[in-house]
Amino acid sequence: MNWDAWIPLLVVASSLLPGLVIFTLAEEQVRLRTALNLLGAFVKLALVSWMVWGVYNGHHFETRLPLLPNLEFVLRAGPLALLFVGLSTVLWLVTTIYAIGYLEGSPHRSRFFGFFSLCVTATVGVALSGNMITFLIFYELLTLATYPLLIHRGTEEARKAGHTYLVYTMIGGALLLLGTAWLYSLTGTLEFTPRGFLAGLGEEHRHALIIIFVLMIAGLGVKAAIVPLHGWLPLAMVAPAPVSALLHAVAVVKAGAFGIVRVVYDVFGVDFATGLGVMEPLAWLAGFTIIYGSLRALFQDDLKRRLAFSTISQVSYVVLGVAIAGPIATIGGVVHLVHQGLMKITLFFCAGNLAETLGIHKVSEMNGVGQRMPWTMAAFTVGAFGMIGAPPVAGFISKWYLGMGALEAGQNWVLLVLAGSSLLNAAYFLPILYAAWFKKTPSSWPHEHDFGRMETAWALLLPPLITAALALAAGLLATLPFSPLDWAKLISVREFY
């Protein structure tokens, strides 16, 4: 029995099966549910670690099942896939702990955790997909699994947000489907191949391929929240905090960005895409999104909305890194997949803590909150400085490689974009830090819960601390083997040399 061929499938199943079982659990079976959740998360972590080690040593993990005539369901663990899988696995574990703490005592938790697990399943599937059709399957599954999470609270506002989300993602999905099917009709294959599988295609398909590229990027760009396809993201803030955290840091937005990486590298191939002349517009679009998102974030008083616009801006770093189309920029873009995830999830955890512990939802209510919740705000500070790109937090590494990549590719305007973005990031994060640490604490908080000696429940406090530490470590220890940067370099080598 060749186990290597089944491990990718097992990785997907390790969250799918607990998820399905959790659906059937009654509301009161808290312990069993928690145990299942954590079991799934740890099993997945173990499997992924095994694969990371294996891939590092040249093993090949691939599951292949027939799906359609001439098309197979392929799960394959390459370096790029593992980068994303690793991120989502670690963050799933952390987010699960957080969600257990966050939702304690609230209704419909079985449903919530069921869809939560499905959401992770879809994300892991997106990461491991070995061809476009498998990707498409998990990509749509992701839409479906997040929708119930998004409208979990069942308010009219939530429903409308969910509606907007669907309008965007469904149209995006249709565009992606169209692009994929068209591509398939031209090439007869959809297998992800390093440096793309289109190189053999003749000149006569040039226009068709450009349109296909646009279609696919538009389809993926919806989830990656590239302007002007970002409209759903700020509205999605009505969801509970763990969902927002997962949505922004791991699942949806990242799946979009990851998809763009896949399409550029493994479908079109960087050289081919550059030859088509589509990379430059993509880079411009990403640059514009970076600035636009930051600008909008400046004017949000709602904390989560501010973070949402920040996500719009930050995720486009990934796209930018890809679109610059050079080995170093690739490192920057790909590694930002992980770095942004770590930093943004920290910020969302902290925002959730503030909301849950003190009832704070707005930036203007955050005066002096650092006195009341020093640990939470310390984690927040690390995340915020990471977003600004201050060393030695992870964001610095990403910006470093993006900037270097831009210089290498001779795209000097990118430096301006990076600088502008850093400036704007500072402009919308530093006032928060300032208010939290240095302004006077008000006499009472909007809606305070008492957690005894701790500033908040341990399940709420631990996750942001872990992720903040990870974000710091990802920056400080970037040159060590198995660090995100190290993997990103591996990926870049595979694509370019």
Binding site: F385, M404, L415, L423, A478, T479
Partner: protein, 425 residues
Amino acid sequence: MSIADSLLWLAVCWPLLLALPALHKRLPLPQLLAMLPAVLLILFVVDNTLTVPWLLFGTSFSLDEQTRWLLAVIVALWLLVAMMLWRTKHPAPNNYLATLFLLTMSGNIGLILASDLVTFFCFSTLMSYGFYGLLIHGSNDAVRRAGRLYLICLIVADLALFEALLLVASNTEHLQFQLVQQVMSNVPTTDFYMAMVLGAFALKAGIWPFSLWLSTTFSATSSPKRLLLVSVPVAMALLGMLRWLPLGQYNFDAWGLILQSIGGVGILYVMFKFYAVRQIRLFPAYAAIAYSSLFIALLGIGLTYPSLWHDFHYLAYPYIAVLVISMVCLILLLGRVEHEHQPPETTLHGIKQLNIYLKQKFEDFIQWRNVQLHKLNALRHAAHQIVLQSLHVMHMQKLQRLMDRWSVRMMMAVMMGMLLIWLMI
């Protein structure tokens, strides 16, 4: 790992570690304890380099004769400030004064010890933001407004530095200062690099025309922080220029001219301000601007004439140290003066009259002091010019020997002197 290496490590990390509230709340005198490794380092280590390849892009710290006594001056300064801060303030339970203090200090120490660009940049960031926190902690609105100005300058400066860093990194893999100075003096992007570095450090040092933040902040903040304000950011920015600029390699006529004229204008500006401004307490700020303007002008000369720079670049580090020391002396002195002439609140009635009277006296005193100080300053500038010119004439090897001999013992004397001044006041 040798003891010297460990001390280098500890000098940076120990204050950082102590910055955790959980730790420094449980230790006696944490702010003094934190300096211990640095003091030991100054006392016992000569010429050591520590390379940490796994940290960031590969980090290295080094201590040589030059940095050693600059570090000594700075540590002495921090000691002084620590004692002043903890004498006048009684930290509340949730007070981050200690945290901010320790963060800023470790940033400062790390920055001096850093021997490559990225490490320097990292610690500079740590120091700057920490210092911002220190500045506005427990302060009034005026300080906050002023602090905001400082912060904006800081962000912009850091951005420029980051771009400069990228330029370097795209030209060379090794980011050691010496290598960078060689590499960056002869690449197509040199001019851009220089512009970025100069702009950034000029902002950080508050050199004219970016001096607004320094004077504004200085006038708003309290005494111990003023010591830091005119010493730490300004001095460290000057240090940054020394480290980052490709000095003594090629001749950059244009840049030399620009720097010289900026320095000149800066000095003129300060002179004008000495006349225009009547607030005696602002003098140290303008003195600092004058100092750094002069420094810039000298750098300009160094850029124009690399050989000249080769001959007397040894003076640059003492110059920074002198700046710190003289600023500290000036502030302490002026603070004393100001303090003595505060109206004592003895009785309720008659206090008004006394007030008016004292105010009149005080005005007179300021005017007198104005004139005196101006003279003093002019004198000192003249002296400086003379010293520099004479140094140029002097035989260089002799000077170098002098420099070598002026080491730890000398430094201790300076520290003792500072301590004495403080005790006297």
